[in-house]
């Protein structure tokens, strides 16, 4: 997590005309989030979460805009963004399937779930289907050990999973 490297010298940043951090979002953050903290930097996580919620991931341009909004060098915001597992610096599928791999889930058979998803969707952990619908991720403890094995699909937690009911859940997603 802490050692994502980038090719700084030759890196090209894809840019678009329209800003990712819209004026409306800026106004909302300025009013609701900034006053919560004594420093602007403290709003980094909430701002990145808001950007990601709107665009699905965090393009470099969005990071630059967030930095400008937070009055920080872009490198500071990138430093924070690369540390956390939930921030996507490359596009992800419409549905991210996070399958828990920690101890309780492993004891109760999370491997079969991962294998079943791999078979069904043809993607391994960290990969996205070609149609951009699903991304499969291994994740450490989701805090649902009592109802293991479990998986998070976007924001929804699915508990007491079996290969069959995970299959049903995946089929129910468009």
């Amino acid at each position: 997590m802490a050692w994502i490297t980038k090719n700084s010298a030759t890196m090209q940043i894809d840019r678009r005309e329209e800003p990712y951090l819209s004026e409306a979002l800026k106004a909302k953050l300025e009013q609701e989030v900034i006053p919560r903290f004594p420093t602007r930097q403290a709003a980094t996580l909430p701002v990145l979460h808001a950007l990601q919620e709107e665009h699905g991931w965090l393009p470099y341009q969005a990071i630059e805009e967030a930095a400008e909004f937070l009055q920080l060098p872009a490198s500071r915001v990138l430093d924070t963004a690369t540390f956390y597992e939930e921030f996507w610096l490359k596009p992800k599928g419409r549905y991210v399937i996070w399958i828990c791999q920690s101890l309780s889930c492993e004891l109760l058979g999370n491997r079969q779930l991962v294998e079943a998803v791999q078979r069904k969707l043809g993607i391994g952990p960290g990969q996205t289907t070609d149609d951009g619908r699903f991304t499969l991720m291994n994740v450490e403890c989701l805090g649902s050990c009592g109802t293991a094995p479990c998986a998070l699909i976007n924001e929804k937690l699915h508990e007491n999973l079996t290969v069959e009911n995970l299959d049903r859940v995946l089929d129910s997603l468009e």
Partner: protein
């Protein structure tokens, strides 16, 4: 010795007093109708210092893993200087096996908010941040809704019952993390709160003196704060009527294990879940009475007493008393978060060790070299042993690495590596034969033989 009635779970149906299936969110009205926020009113009628004294007298120990006496922590704050003072609520519950705070937040969020309000009054803190892990989406939404209710009813916000503290209106915010186990370490949590990467800080200065934004800060776990209203309401003596007292003849500086505690039990049991019991309950009681025994009638083999960083209890420690002293008695790190993971006779302990080592190598923040590298070495060695390619030398190497990483051997800033250290070391020591049977004896091929043509 069993808890006569539920305390923290009084509004959350739990066997033997209720049914898991009946658990639902307790909204503000119901919370108040069942005696909620009475303890806050009681606290507000008291001098803040007197509130701290009650918590101190109860000897309430932090429920987040380290077991530090909460009242003592509160009394470490420097005198007020008119500047801001913060409360950071640790709801970054990410220790594998732990899912107790989630239950409080999900079903009885106002209990937490009441504890927060009491703490803010007692310690004269003007702003509280509830740092909740990013993966708890539903719980975050529940908490945000409860907070809106609390603002409406003047628990927080302008004109709140707490009045102004440090010359400011009192506020409480939900702050969402973004998926990093290390942010549950208190100073990493503060760094993350400040918008930086979650790298633990070197202590001192301790957060009570210079914490969030370099101001005095109290950091408490969700369950710790949720316990506070009950202590105020029913008194320190009531609280100390539960749990295990300090050993006979020990000086009062030795902390005891008083009060009720949430136990999250998972793994190979029939009815896993979050239960409430007195501290000092036997693990066998939890498994047999609360969880209705081992799954498929299998035999018990091992258990993690409280989150994977605490190490394991072996086959002969089935009756271990789960209180803060479990570590001393049973050669593990301690009670931790009381997230018990139970394993049956078919469990492969090499795989368990590998899983745990993978967790720590994945979650190491990368700041201290012994942890960043050491956890990963252990993971690779354990993978090798699991695949059948290990040698006897690997076992010694594992013990050597495990014994040299962590804050206890003094090579890292925080305790993450200690977790890896204790987990791997105790599994290896208590199940040595299992590891031994999986490795091949090192063969020394002499050069003389190789050179023979």
């Amino acid at each position: 010795m069993a808890l006569a009635e539920p305390v923290l779970l009084k509004r959350i149906p739990t066997p033997p007093w209720g049914d898991f299936a009946d658990r639902k969110l307790v909204p503000y009205e119901q919370y108040v109708a069942t005696g909620g926020y009475a303890a806050l009113d009681q606290a507000l009628a008291m001098d803040p210092k007197a509130v701290i004294e009650v918590v101190k007298a109860s000897e309430l120990r932090g429920r987040g893993g380290a077991g530090f006496p909460a009242g003592m922590k509160w009394s470490f704050l420097p005198p007020e200087d008119g500047g801001r003072r913060f409360l950071a609520v640790n709801a970054d519950e990410s220790e594998p096996g732990t899912f107790k705070d989630r239950v409080i937040i999900e079903y009885d969020p106002h209990l937490l908010l009441e504890g927060i309000a009491i703490c803010m009054h007692a310690c004269r803190l003007d702003t509280a941040y509830i740092y909740i892990r990013g993966e708890y989406h539903h719980q975050r939404h529940v908490l945000e809704k409860a907070l809106r209710e609390a603002y409406e009813h003047k628990i927080f916000g302008p004109g709140s019952r707490l009045g102004q503290i440090n010359g400011r209106d009192v506020h409480c915010y939900v702050h969402r993390g973004a998926g990093a186990y290390i942010c549950g370490e208190e100073t990493a949590l503060l760094e993350s709160l400040e918008g930086k990467r979650g790298w633990p800080r070197i202590k001192p200065p301790f957060p009570a003196v210079a914490g969030a934004f370099a101001r005095p800060t109290i950091i408490n776990n969700v369950e710790t704060l949720a316990t506070v209203p009950f202590i105020l309401e029913r008194g320190a003596d009531w609280f100390k009527s539960m749990g295990t007292p300090r050993p006979e003849g020990a000086p009062p500086t030795v902390p005891a294990s008083y009060g009720p505690k949430l136990f999250g039990i998972s793994g190979h049991v029939n009815r896993p879940g979050v239960y409430e019991e007195e501290l000092g309950v036997k693990m066998s009681t939890l498994i047999e009475q609360h969880c209705q025994g081992m799954r498929h009638g299998k035999k018990y083999k091992a258990a993690i007493p409280g989150g994977i960083s605490m190490g394991v209890l072996g086959p002969d420690e089935y009756d271990a008393m789960l209180d803060f002293d479990v570590g001393k008695k049973h050669n593990c790190l301690g009670l931790g978060t009381a997230g018990v993971i139970v394993m049956d006779e078919d469990t492969d302990m090499v795989a368990v060790a590998r899983n745990i080592a993978r967790f720590f190598s994945h979650e190491s923040c990368g700041q201290c070299t012994p942890c960043r590298e050491g956890t990963n070495w252990m993971y690779r060695i354990l993978k090798r042993i699991e695949a059948g390619d290990g040698t006897t030398k690997d076992l010694d190497l594992l013990l050597e690495i495990a014994g040299s990483i962590g804050a206890m051997p003094g090579t890292t800033i925080c305790g993450l590596a200690d977790g890896a250290n204790w987990a791997v070391r105790t599994i290896l020591n208590k199940f040595w034969h299992e590891f031994e049977s999986r490795v091949t004896k090192e063969r020394y091929v002499s050069l003389a033989v190789l050179n023979t043509r």
